[in-house]
């Protein structure tokens, strides 16, 4: 354990945002937020509670996702009402039905910026931590933030997970996060600011890193930060408007920052893993489940966790020239329209379609169990998303397994949970 007087990333961001020189874990502060992320479907309800007030229309981002296009009349009405209010309030950063999942759009459109404090009315807002933003999900207090641009925080203790070594072929960042949940528990980072770091992290593509911050909330974390390196800064500079670039203040931890706990994970020792029903921490090797013979009715390649270009690409590599198992349906839902377009251009979607995949427009899709592929009683699904809680994707009597895009694709092919490594040699 390191003991020091320096500050962690969360402490630095919260100190700046609350106008203090320094903060300590346990301090309660009122902090100005830099950006608020909202979803279209809940927008009107929150905006009405805020009584038509918005502290700064430039700092609010609204994405129409989760139930897009609307599968119920009530969702359609909520969207229509949101559009009307958005206009009245003069919000400009609005992304309509079909643009994709809010967290992915938030990153792609340059709203996730290192050093900023972000709150969002969705639990996976922490995804922006991959770019160095202290970001977290809220819900009930959203109208207060919309009106005043601030909220309270208890400065969290920080923990650090250092990734050493190099990922073996067929093993991905999703397997790393499942390993952590399975080994250290789903509350390993409860209430804490989690910092991912280490040489193996810096060797990962940005898309792979995003998975680690996305699933911080499944480890209980308040923030799931990563110190920004050149890869991150390049991504951000390409997306943040010229005029805003000067105000970027990337934050890195002080060398003598204090961490309550430091975990080291040698990723070279990992194998493809699967979280079994009904919890993210119930983790087994894909190979062991393959030996058991777990039949799969639905394979879902989607969600804000693993449905970016590299995920679709790896699935296409496994499925190209082959056919999805006749007893299994494979649903592919790209994380955003930009991902969709790029995958289309590169022939990835064509390969997946030829293999028998159902390709949908970009949205949360089957992940939250609202539309686009609900599970029936007793059905088994393997999904690339972040949660396998009972009832998450439809029937409470269904079984959900979580895995990397590669494991999902291999399982779709075999009609049972399968270790993907044999297709990637």
């Amino acid at each position: 354990m390191s003991v020091g007087t320096g500050m962690t990333m969360a402490e630095k961001v919260l100190a700046r945002a609350s106008g203090r020189e320094r903060v300590r874990p346990g301090d309660l502060v009122i902090a100005r937020v830099d950006r608020l992320l909202m979803t279209g479907w809940r927008f009107a309800a929150f905006a009405k509670q805020a009584g038509g007030r918005v502290w700064d229309p430039e700092r609010v981002v609204v994405v129409f996702d989760h139930v897009a296009p609307p599968p119920t009349v009530s969702a359609a009405n909520a969207f229509a009402e949101a559009r009307k209010l958005i206009q009245e309030l003069g919000l400009r950063h609005v992304y309509e039905v079909g643009r994709g999942i809010c967290h992915q759009v938030f990153l792609e459109e340059g709203f996730a910026r290192p050093g900023e404090l972000v709150v969002g009315a969705d639990s996976h807002t922490g995804t922006a931590g991959a770019l160095g933003a202290a970001a977290c999900g809220i819900n009930v207090e959203t109208p207060y933030v919309l009106a005043y641009g601030e909220t309270w925080f208890r400065v969290p203790e920080s923990i650090k997970i250092v990734l050493e070594g190099e990922l073996p072929p067929g093993v991905y960042s999703k397997d790393v996060v499942l390993y952590v949940a399975g080994t250290y528990g789903e509350d390993v980072a409860l209430y804490k600011s989690l910092e991912w770091d280490g040489p193996a992290l810096r060797k990962m593509s940005l898309e792979s890193r995003i998975v680690l911050s996305n699933m911080g909330v499944e480890l209980g974390a308040k923030f799931a930060l990563q110190p920004p390196d050149e890869v991150v800064l390049e991504y951000v500079r390409a997306r943040v408007p010229e005029g805003d670039q000067k105000s970027l203040e990337p934050v890195r931890p002080d060398p003598d920052a204090h961490y309550e706990r430091v975990l080291e994970v040698d990723v070279s020792k990992l194998e493809p893993l699967v979280a079994c029903p009904h919890s993210v921490g119930n983790v087994k090797p894909a190979g062991a489940l393959e030996a058991e013979g777990v039949r799969v009715d639905q394979a879902f390649l989607g969600s804000c966790t693993n449905a970016r270009l590299e995920d679709l690409e790896i699935a296409a590599r496994i499925l190209k020239g082959r056919q999805v198992h006749p007893g299994t349906r494979l649903l592919v839902t790209p994380a955003s329209q930009r991902v969709y377009e790029e995958a289309l251009k590169r022939g990835i979607l064509g390969a997946l379609a030829e293999a028998g995949a159902v390709i949908t427009h970009s949205d949360c899709g089957a992940c939250p169990g609202f539309h686009l592929g609900l599970l029936g009683d007793g059905e088994v699904c393997i999904a690339s998303q972040n949660r396998n809680y009972r009832g998450r994707m439809g029937s409470p009597k269904a079984q959900i397994y979580l895995a990397s895009a590669a494991t999902v694709a291999a399982s779709a092919l075999e009609g049972r949970i399968a270790d993907p490594r044999k297709y990637l040699a």
């Binding site: 309660l28 502060v29 009122i30 479907w41 509670q49 805020a50 009584g51 989760h66 139930v67 599968p71 119920t72 009349v73 009530s74 969702a75 009405n77 909520a78 009315a121 969705d122 639990s123 977290c136 999900g137 809220i138 819900n139 009930v140 207090e141 109208p143 207060y144 009106a147 005043y148 601030e150 909220t151 309270w152 208890r154 789903e186 509350d187 409860l190 209430y191 909330v217 499944e218 209980g220 308040k222 919890s279 921490g281 939250p368 169990g369 609202f370 949660r387 809680y389 009972r390 009832g391 998450r392 439809g394 409470p396």
Partner: protein, 174 residues
Amino acid sequence: MDKPTETTWKYRGRAWVFGDHINTDLILPSEAMYGKVPEDEVKRYVFRAIRPEFAERVRPGDLVVAGVNFGCGSSRPAARVLKELGIACVLAESFSRIFFRNAINLGYPVLVCPGITRAVRDGDELEVEPLEGRVRDLTTGEELQAEPLPPFVRQLVEAGGLLELLRRGERLRA
């Protein structure tokens, strides 16, 4: 932040005991969201997958007792629906942070109470004074001490939560 006068801050009711990592998909299932069922029926889906009798049998004043990481998962307003069902207070070994925040910001007391799942049986009669963190199991006579809410959080709960401040046009003060 003024204290609302109508609240007594002492509750007595039956315990409904749950295990660890009870997530918000179990508390407020997606089956009942996004307008799939009428607004006034949503409450009937609470805990349906694990305790189908809950919504029918729960009485105002009852208490939910749970293990670690209660309310993990989606940020949906699970605390609100428990409050609407009349659950006076939730006591757990630990809470997920979004659930905890949602509750506090609604002015709804939720207490971290180490050892509660070992001490309390399903159906026990409990008496809880949330602001002081005092918990008494009237069935067994055992007394437990929950972690007291930090002063700032306690004030926020007493004031009725962040939304109540917003409604009154007030703001947080450090």
